[in-house]
């Protein structure tokens, strides 16, 4: 998945406040273009069920993913990464914003057009034991998307199932087995086969390996890599496992309470994280080798839990746990600042106006 970094960046000055996060990466003809995407869940109260507030699970998120690349979505549980993935695929309907997959605005589709579009965008779910219907055989499960989209005759579909099983490295004897007789890793491979059955362009991988044993994680990742190369698939890889994200992604976005706090090319973010939250996350990765350790920023432990999204702190959402918080953080949420050619970070430390007053923006 490692592709050469983009060279043709547009001009910038470090510390520039930016309005359009998408412009920073200047992708020509991206496969996925997410613009100002929000998903708010209403909160009702009282006997007449009046809407009193909304949980902003995903709040004004923008990014693009070039064809054939992997965008890693990182964040703690409750950061909104799964909701973001689901909103992109229209599994839940986003509140605001647009999602374009290969030039088609997915958010404006409905009915038959949306059904047709779903062929291009698929999902691999976190828990393979729950995402496969226990009453269907592996063959029935994998051919379901083909049946729904009315592709091929029964014979052709059966043949395709055999092909797909081979692609995910499962024996064809599995066709007539039920999910209950498969191991977790095997089930997840069936989930992957189902997702690629109808030749999608975009696949959202929602923590595809977090329910699996470490020993089988590597194999699943390998299969995903193979499929990506073979079919030029574009992935959104959702995970809280940073070492995994580092290995699979080309570019990452760090989510905190539904907002991106830092986005950028994976290597630069890992080598030199800009946002205090990213730094804290990276410093919390357990390391084994020296090679790992070189990415590890100085120890920075976060206090407390991620706040209740219904009661976000005013100003910067990360303020309540940020070791570097200072006066402006409480007043207004910081904008995204472009810190170098490959990255944006949402923190006042990057603002020239605060360079002296702020804590230790030593980077």
């Amino acid at each position: 998945m490692s592709q050469p970094l983009h060279t043709d960046r547009f001009e910038y000055a470090p510390g520039d406040q930016i309005q359009d996060e998408i412009a920073v990466f200047d992708d020509k003809d991206p496969l996925l273009r997410v613009e100002n995407l929000s998903k708010h869940f209403p909160i009702y109260e009282g006997i007449i069920k009046r809407q009193v507030a909304a949980v902003r699970a995903v709040d004004d998120v923008s990014f693009t993913v070039p064809r054939g690349q992997t965008f890693g979505l990182v964040g703690e549980s409750g950061s909104g990464k799964t909701t973001l993935g689901r909103s992109i695929l229209r599994i839940t309907d986003p509140t605001h914003g647009t999602v374009e997959v290969d030039g088609t605005d997915v958010t404006s589709l409905s009915g038959g057009a949306l059904k047709k579009q779903r062929k291009d965008m698929q999902m691999v779910f976190q828990d393979p034991s729950s995402s496969l219907n226990p009453r269907k055989t592996i063959k029935q499960i994998i051919e379901t998307p083909m049946k729904i989209h009315d592709i091929g005759s029964a014979g052709e579909r059966a043949q395709r199932v055999e092909e797909l099983l081979e692609m995910v490295d499962l024996p064809r004897e599995f066709m007539y087995k039920y999910p209950s007789s498969l191991s977790g890793g095997q089930k997840q491979r069936v989930g992957i086969a189902r997702a690629v059955a109808v030749n999608p362009k975009l696949v959202v991988l929602d923590e595809p390996t977090s329910a699996l044993d470490v020993s089988v994680q590597a194999r699943v990742i390998e299969i995903l890599n193979d499929l990506q190369k073979r079919f030029d698939l574009t992935y959104i890889f959702i995970s809280h496992d940073l070492s995994l994200i580092k290995n699979v992604s080309d570019r990452i976005g760090v989510l905190y309470l539904g907002r991106f706090v830092e986005t950028g090319d994976v290597d630069s973010v890992f080598q030199d994280p800009q946002h205090p939250y990213t730094r804290a996350l990276l410093s919390a990765i357990p390391t084994v080798t020296d090679e790992d350790r070189q990415y590890k920023p100085p120890e920075l432990t976060l206090e407390g839990e991620i706040p209740d999204p219904r009661e976000k702190p005013t100003g910067c959402a990360f303020r309540s746990r940020c070791p570097e918080a200072f006066e402006p953080c409480a007043e207004e949420e910081p904008a995204m600042y472009q810190t170098d050619s490959t990255r944006c970070s949402r923190c006042y430390l990057h603002d020239e106006a605060y360079q002296d007053t702020g804590g230790s923006d030593d980077q």
Partner: protein
């Protein structure tokens, strides 16, 4: 089931067969651990054999159709008439044998209607949720509040007593149990990720409810239907006993008890043998239902 390549066809079909045989074997081995459910299966099997071959087995098939012969009325059980004869001189054994057909017919017709209505409404209510769910479930509650016998009385009062009206009347209240059972099942099944998965694949509500959810509810439906067979037969016999079901000269167990009731002290056999037949059927279906519950590992209220 690929048809194009001959070599693969045989091979895949063989795989499918092996897998199926394996599963049947496993289910049987679990079932056979419970002696009682095996006894139940034997009892039900016997009922079906009797029902199918009634004209062959019954010593006096014409008596079941209502041939009257007062010269041999009310005879005690003997070699000639193992269960005796009734007040019209009809062989009770023959009528009990033919009554098996009516009883099983009753169970199948009532449950087919009840399951079709109940399962469909339960699926829709559980899947749609919200107002649709509220409306369907309140209607279900209203029907549930009326005892089946009472509803049957009303239906029959509005029409006329007959076996078919009795079946419709029982089904008209029986479906509520299935609607409730399925609605509850759907609520828990639809939380699974595979429902979301099929939605993200582009599946419509029909596919999701009938192809994804329903197969997961087949277990509880099967168990409940088996247990209910006995109860439906019982309720049907009850209606016939009250004169609201099958009419003379139909060989119906409930009806036979009704006619024998007046003579229980003098000719005890007239009511006793049909009564034993009812107990036999109810017990058989209950044993099988309990056995299936263990094998399929489901909870039914």
């Amino acid at each position: 089931m690929s048809t194009d390549t001959t070599g693969a066809t045989i091979d895949t079909d063989q795989l499918a067969k092996d897998e199926r045989r394996e599963r049947i074997k496993r289910a049987w081995s679990r079932l056979s651990q419970s002696t009682l459910s095996l006894v139940g299966f034997a009892m039900i099997g016997l009922l079906f054999i009797i029902a199918i071959f009634a004209p062959v087995i019954a010593p006096y098939p014409e008596d079941a159709a209502g041939a009257i012969d007062f010269s041999r009325a009310s005879q005690a059980p003997s070699l000639e008439h193992p269960m005796g004869t009734d007040t019209e001189g009809r062989d009770i054994l023959s009528r009990v044998i033919f009554g098996t057909r009516i009883a099983l017919l009753m169970g199948f017709v009532v449950l087919s209607i009840a399951i079709s209505i109940g399962v469909t409404l339960g699926l829709i209510a559980g899947y749609m949720g919200g107002k649709t769910n509220a409306v369907i479930m309140r209607i279900t509650d209203i029907f549930l509040a009326i005892p089946p016998t009472l509803l049957a009385l009303a239906v029959i009062a509005a029409t006329r007593p007959s076996l078919w009206y009795a079946m419709i009347a029982i089904a008209a209240s029986w479906w509520t149990w299935y609607a409730r059972l399925i609605q509850g099942e759907v609520l828990s099944i639809k939380e699974n990720e595979f429902i979301e998965a099929s939605r993200s694949l582009g599946a419509g509500w029909f596919h999701i409810t009938f192809r994804e959810i329903l197969p997961n509810a087949i277990g509880p439906i099967t168990v409940k239907a088996t247990l209910d067979m006995g109860f439906v037969i019982l309720v049907g016999a009850g209606l016939a006993f009250l004169g609201l079901g099958a009419q003379e000269p139909t060989a119906d167990w409930g009806l036979m008890i009704a006619t024998g009731r007046a003579h229980v002290r003098t000719y005890w056999w007239i009511a006793t043998f049909p009564g034993l037949a009812i107990s036999f059927a109810v017990l058989g279906f209950n044993l099988v239902g309990d056995g299936l519950r263990d094998v399929l590992d489901v909870e039914v209220e």
